[in-house]
């Protein structure tokens, strides 16, 4: 089992959006429609004070990802209200088809004073095939609890055996690498279940994927697919500090597998997606999303600079 690269399938400069700053297509998430694959991602606008704000957009592809059919003409969800958990942007939004509705699980960002940001996971629902989404309430469906004190985000949902499963991340520490330096976060992958996709029961603090880089390893954007009767999770992981500039400390893809959705065995070597020097994803690979279409399993992901230029794809072979 290995991934065959399809390259940079969405180049933002070749398919510009009519909003945003023309950079970043982060956290690609696929929704398979009858005649196309719609891939949601977050692009960015810039506030008057220079701070970025993430907006959810999409690009439509042929079902084999070989061609871009079009891009969204406006963000798919309105900005959050004053003081809400998603007031300062949504990144990422994951999607789940539910009959004639589409559930969008949003990671909302709101800015803080002592640390840069806090996040929570909201639910937004589309009734027009994924063109626009309306919030289910102004607050999150999943947020901080006793043993997951902050930075709940990156929720991705699948229905398995009639039960909704969410894999997501929660923060474990905000620490300063040096006195006076900005606090940097550490986050781990967790798991929650639900009967309806709205009311969730967390395992509250259980870190389901073992660390490879030690206690300060940051794990993000889990995605789960099945192959030969086994559950596979792909995610990205990095060091707590130095990850923005040092490729050796930046995001790369990790992997774990499970037969019971409870115990996960980490095996990063297994799915193998080695970087190529000088390529668009040579320095960084992050924010994966696996999906199946017409019998093929694909992996969408971002490359260098956290997806500034677009996103790429790979196809599972062997």
């Amino acid at each position: 089992m290995r991934w065959e690269r399809l390259g940079l399938v969405f180049d933002l400069q070749a398919h510009p959006l009519p909003f945003g700053i023309g950079a970043f297509a982060q956290g690609p998430q696929a929704l398979v429609l009858d005649d196309r694959v719609r891939v949601y991602f977050s692009t960015r606008s810039r506030d008057p004070d220079g701070k970025y704000r993430s907006l959810v957009a999409f690009a439509d592809f042929t079902r084999d990802l070989s061609a871009v059919l079009g891009v969204s003409q406006s963000p798919v969800i309105e900005p959050g209200g004053l003081g809400t958990f998603d007031e300062h942007g949504i990144f990422p939004m994951t999607v789940l088809a539910q009959g004639d509705r589409v559930f969008g699980y949003t990671t909302g960002w709101s800015r803080r004073v002592s640390v840069s940001v806090e996040t929570g996971i909201g639910l937004a629902i589309s009734r027009d095939g994924g063109l626009t989404f309306t919030r289910h309430g102004t607050g999150p469906v999943l947020s901080a609890t006793l043993n997951e004190p902050f930075l709940v985000g990156d929720g991705i949902v699948r229905v398995i055996g009639g039960r909704f499963h969410m894999w997501y991340i929660f923060g474990t520490q905000w620490t300063r690498p040096a006195p006076g330096a900005e606090a940097e976060r550490v986050y781990k992958i967790g798991h929650a279940t639900s009967a309806d996709g709205i009311a969730w029961v967390k395992e509250d603090g259980r870190r389901i994927v073992p660390d490879r880089l030690g206690p300060t390893e940051c794990q993000a954007l889990p995605t789960v697919f099945d192959r030969d009767g086994r559950h596979h999770m792909v995610f990205c992981y990095r060091e707590q500090v130095g990850f923005r500039t040092d490729p050796a400390r930046g995001y790369r893809l990790g992997h774990a597998w499970s037969d019971d959705l409870a115990t996960w065995t980490r095996d990063d070597a297994m799915p193998g997606l080695p970087g190529g020097p000088g390529a668009w994803d040579g320095a960084m690979q992050c924010y994966p999303n696996a999906f199946t279409c017409d019998g093929a399993t694909y992996l969408l992901y971002n490359g260098d600079a956290f997806g500034r230029f677009g996103f790429g794809a790979a196809r599972l072979v062997g």
């Binding site: 209200g81 004053l82 003081g83 809400t84 958990f85 007031e87 300062h88 709101s110 800015r111 803080r112 004073v113 002592s114 640390v115 806090e118 929570g120 909201g122 639910l123 289910h136 309430g137 102004t138 607050g139 999150p140 469906v141 999943l142 947020s143 901080a144 609890t145 006793l146 043993n147 997951e148 004190p149 902050f150 930075l151 923060g171 520490q173 905000w174 620490t175 300063r176 606090a183 976060r185 709205i198 603090g205």
Partner: protein, 307 residues
């Protein structure tokens, strides 16, 4: 009483909450050191021990805050206020609101839980995060917890924000009274609705839902105010009242609260943050006066039946 040797206890004595401890009545409250250079406060919680035989005689004041502030990035990094305490076996549990600072609005709050094993002097968090999460209809500003046990079930009365209003360049939160129940005080099920309808305006803000059982009925005292310009006599906090036979359906009857602002003095501008407790056959209402407790808190004693 003036306290001079505790720099963390410089101003305010907010949100009183009583615990009977032998021959003293321990009143927990929240206080603040002086504001920092940017004018920002933090809040700590502490207690004062009142002589059980004469509640106007102070026997002791906490030597230190009952709970340190939270770590970087946690919900209670900048304040522990208010607290509500309850005995549970050999332990004392404190349910409290933690404060963090935000960019677009001044703050957010969430409800945490801490436990004391030394009779209520020092508390430790059950965990670094809140015990009651935000939800789709409780998006922010969860605060004012008041914990009770009735008939073996734990009840948490609290407030949840519903909107932030911009008024005169300030963001002002609007919040309402909510409830959750639990078999153990740890795992909570939210009722998911506002208990008390607004009376003075649609955006009325309500706080400090304090429930007391007497004469075969549940009595709730709370405080309410206008959503804007509420730092004045006319629009500031007043004490409201509602009653219930089942803790689910509440009938509001503010005219029966039994306490209004005084004609003059420390509680003439506003009255807020009521807390009812009984000791030795008498029922008291502790509350805050002007400037939401900048100078301290007061007591009223019940005369006749409640409500």
């Amino acid at each position: 009483m003036a306290v001079h040797d505790r720099p963390w206890l410089k101003e305010f004595a907010q949100a009183p909450s009583a615990l009977i401890c032998g021959d003293v009545v321990r009143i927990y409250f929240s206080c603040r050191p002086p504001a920092d250079a940017a004018g920002q406060y933090v809040s700590h919680s502490a207690y004062v021990d009142l002589d059980r035989a004469d509640l106007f005689t102070i026997r002791a004041v906490a030597e230190a805050p009952i709970l340190p502030l939270g770590q970087t990035g946690t919900f209670d990094e900048f304040g522990v206020y208010p607290v509500s305490v309850i005995r549970h076996g050999d332990e004392v549990r404190a349910y409290y609101a933690g404060w963090t600072r935000c960019e677009s609005v001044p703050f957010n709050t969430a409800i945490g839980c801490a436990v004391s094993r030394d009779g209520g002097m020092r508390f430790e968090r059950l965990g670094p995060g809140p015990i009651l999460p935000y939800g789709p209809d409780e998006p922010f500003v969860m605060s004012g917890p008041k914990v009770r046990v009735f008939g073996g079930t734990w009840y948490l009365f609290y407030i949840a924000g519903r909107s932030w209003k911009m008024h005169g360049g300030r963001a002002e939160p609007v919040y309402r009274i909510r409830m959750a129940t639990s078999p153990d005080g740890l795992t909570w099920t939210k009722a998911g609705r506002d208990l008390i309808p607004p009376r003075i305006e649609p955006d009325e803000a309500q706080a400090s839902p304090d429930v007391f059982f007497a004469d075969g009925r549940y009595h709730m005292h709370f405080c309410y105010r206008y959503s804007t310009d509420y730092r004045s006599h006319e629009r500031g906090y007043r004490i409201g009242y509602a009653w219930s036979d089942d803790l689910v359906t509440w009938t509001r009857a503010d005219e029966r609260a039994g306490l209004d602002v005084s004609a003059e003095g420390w509680d003439a501008q506003m009255v807020s943050y009521p807390h009812v407790f009984a000791v030795d056959g008498r029922t008291y209402l502790a509350y805050l006066g002007n400037d939401v407790g900048r100078g301290g808190f007061g007591l009223a004693v019940l005369d006749g039946p409640m409500g």
